[in-house]
Amino acid sequence: MNPITTRRGLAAGTVLLLAALTGCAEETPAAAPGDDTGPVTVKASDDGCDLSRRDVKSGTSTFSVSNGGSKVTEFYVYAEGDRVMGEVENIGPGLKRDLIVELPTGKYQAVCKPGMVGDGIRGDLTVTGEAAAQVDTDTALKDATVSYQRYVNSQAIALEEKTTEFVAAVKAGDVAKSKALFPVSRTYWERIEPVAESFGDLDPKIDARVNDVEPGTEWTGYHRIEQALWEKNSTAGMTKYADQLLVDVKTVVAKAKTVQLNPLQLANGAKELLDEVATGKITGEEDRYSHTDLWDFQANVEGSQAAIQALRPALQQRDAALVTTLDTNFKAVFAAVDKYRVGDGFKPYRPTEAERRELGNVVDALAEPVSKVAGVIAKK
């Protein structure tokens, strides 16, 4: 299949990327140093994803993405198996953002996701240049952690941005807008939940359900606000929880940006995300007031896939059959959850027993091979 190839270290590319993401989105993009081909412009809209060209030279490429549509969009460059090579999250209508990414020779897909859900609008992207040298598995594993940390970083940034919007809506007393933003801001949280959970007491402050709190401790976070929004249809009294949520999310984001992970942690994180789906999402207990569980469900699976696909080149060398199974079973889960899609979101999650069971079956079918990844990558 696809031998793992690279010309320059991914780490170097990562530094450039982080600089771009944290910089101002309105700036006119400058061509990256050493890039003689100029940026690819991407015109994203609610139903289109037009690239100025679909052939780029291997090395560092810049994609200048402008959103001319009415929905928030995301832009990804995927390698085989939807391995994320680079992405920009949370591009609001009228905004422009740059993705600077290191792409070795090979075939890719450029994908816009208007409304942030589903498979997105996909097109081929070909990277040509001198044939890249094959790297050994250890290098591939090291690259995987760099790649996944970049993913965590971009999710964390989007989490802070969207939570800021959510908190502003809550404080403004805009119930409708708050309800709309609740599942969206949680998407970024759920994608990187195992990382966020590793920061001890921040997870309960941000994400505790009512029964996760012991007497004498105040219940705070997303679900506290969720209860007010859906049970009381009100934001009354929520200002202090909204403020606290943003403080806590900012703390998580700051930590997530500096987190150092090893390949085993990626594999275990991917497994834990599916545990979350199996025990908390399928049962409907996560978002018990809003019934927006399917947003979290999808985000957990996306986060799991991001970690697994970062490991893909190494896995491919060690156990190609497992990679095939993972691809098939990830697709099956996304297909199952797609049945519940309405517009840019999901139907409220009130499944029949048969529906709940179907979701459970596809998640179990995926979680089992995902749990084998750690053993494969630890193999010497």
Binding site: N211, A278, E353, G375
Partner: protein, 422 residues
């Protein structure tokens, strides 16, 4: 033993094959003289003495099977409750001795009447059946605080309502109960027979609130027993309180005269928790992660860093990487007396699998039963710490709960709860 046996011996009846045995006294006299609790552990068929200073079924070497039930009292008449407790006690004494209940037992009564004993234990040995009773907070006062049977003032201070612990997801239908009866036996049918017959006797006075089967013990309560495994596949209860720890039992298990109330002296407090294990996600967890969560090796049961199950735990030991061998949030650290002001529990929980959950997963877990001298100093602080920090919480969920005051033993001629009502 101390009083003449009544009722019909199940094996005697079986052997007599239909002969009219009015008072089957034969049968078990020889077997029933067991010199110590240890010898009972070896003999899985004989009887365990029902009467004594303490109730049986607490330090009795843990039997292999459980049928636990709690009952709601459906009458408001104190005399009716006392009458039931007397009838239950008589039946319990017979069943634990391996006898049918009633005058005629299962098959020797009038053909026109339903049999007194339901009959499914006919031919089975006593199988070390023990029946242990406890009274829940709601037995003393109802939800509004009203005195139900003139016992409100006798409610022990230690019989507190359990607080909400982090992550509790309790099903009211599997929690609480006015009276609990724990039936343990080495034969599952003998345990079920006991609860079934008590429930039947109770109709009109009590109704079963919930019942729970346990198919395998998860603790040993004697050094003569090997340590069994729970459904995580780990040895459970290695450092449990054991019946041989007599001094410690006085300190940790039995209510002492200075604790009060009088009717609880020699008794113990039972906390029951139905703990669902998400075994499917657990099974996808790496061996090293499982061992880190528990703090013990899965094969030997030895504390991490040691080689044998009963080696003393070294909580300070660090590996080559500088990390604690037994992590800060490992289960055995958080549950250990050293980190709980010396508090210990006598655990005698059971594995359960109650079919499946409708999602293609087993409804499996641990029915946790723990006896102690004072839950305010033992179960509650220990569980509070576990609920906050135990990494194992990712794989378990407490879905049922109960607390019960189990009085001291029943002297011959007395009945369950006599001192409470006295």
């Amino acid at each position: 033993m101390s009083e003449p046996k009544k009722g019909i011996s199940r094996r005697g009846l079986f052997g007599a094959a239909g002969a009219a045995v009015a008072t089957g006294v034969a049968g078990y006299a020889a077997h029933s003289v067991l010199s110590s609790e240890e010898s009972q552990a070896a003999d899985t068929s004989g009887p365990v003495e029902f009467h004594g200073q303490h109730q049986a079924g607490i330090v009795t070497p843990a039997q292999d099977r459980l049928h636990f039930a709690t009952f709601d009292v459906t009458t408001d008449k104190r005399d009716q409750v006392i009458a039931l407790l007397k009838e239950w006690t008589a039946a319990a004494a017979l069943m634990t001795a391996g006898r049918d209940i009633g005058q005629y037992g299962a098959v020797n009564g009038p053909a026109e009447a339903p049999p007194e004993d339901t009959g499914e234990a006919v031919g089975l040995p006593p199988a070390r059946l023990t029946l242990t009773i406890g009274f829940g907070p709601s037995f003393f006062q109802d939800a509004k605080g009203n005195d139900r049977f003139g016992l409100k003032a006798r409610r022990p201070a230690a019989l507190v309502d359990l607080p909400h612990f982090i992550g509790d997801n309790l099903d009211p239908a599997r929690s609480g109960g006015d009276i609990a009866v724990q039936a343990c036996s080495d034969d599952p049918q003998v345990a079920v027979h006991a609860i079934r017959n008590l429930a039947r006797i109770g109709f009109g006075t009590t109704a079963v609130r919930y019942s729970q089967l346990g198919f395998g013990r998860t603790s040993s309560t004697s050094r003569a027993q090997t340590t069994p495994r729970n459904l995580f596949g780990f040895k459970d209860g290695t450092n449990n309180l054991k019946l041989e720890d007599t001094a410690k039992l006085e300190q940790q298990l039995w209510v002492q005269p200075e604790d009060g109330p009088d009717w609880m002296v020699g008794g113990s407090y039972l906390v029951a928790r139905r703990i669902r294990m998400t075994i499917e996600t657990w099974d996808r967890t790496s061996l090293s992660e499982q061992e880190l969560i528990v703090g013990r090796g899965k094969g030997t049961g030895a504390p991490l860093g040691k080689s044998e199950e009963f080696d003393p735990i070294d909580f300070e030991a660090k590996g080559a990487d500088g990390e604690l061998k037994i992590a800060k949030d490992a289960h055995i650290r958080l549950a250990h007396p050293q980190f709980n002001n010396g508090a210990e529990l006598l655990r005698r929980g059971y594995n359960f699998v109650d079919g499946s959950d409708g999602l293609g997963r087993l409804d499996a877990g641990l029915f946790f039963l723990a006896y102690q001298r004072d839950p305010r100093k033992q179960f509650i602080p220990i569980q509070r710490q576990l609920a906050r920090s135990d990494v194992m919480n990712e794989y378990i969920r407490h879905v049922g709960s109960g607390i019960f005051a189990c009085p001291g033993g029943v002297p011959a001629g007395s009945f369950w709860g006599e001192k409470l009502f006295g």
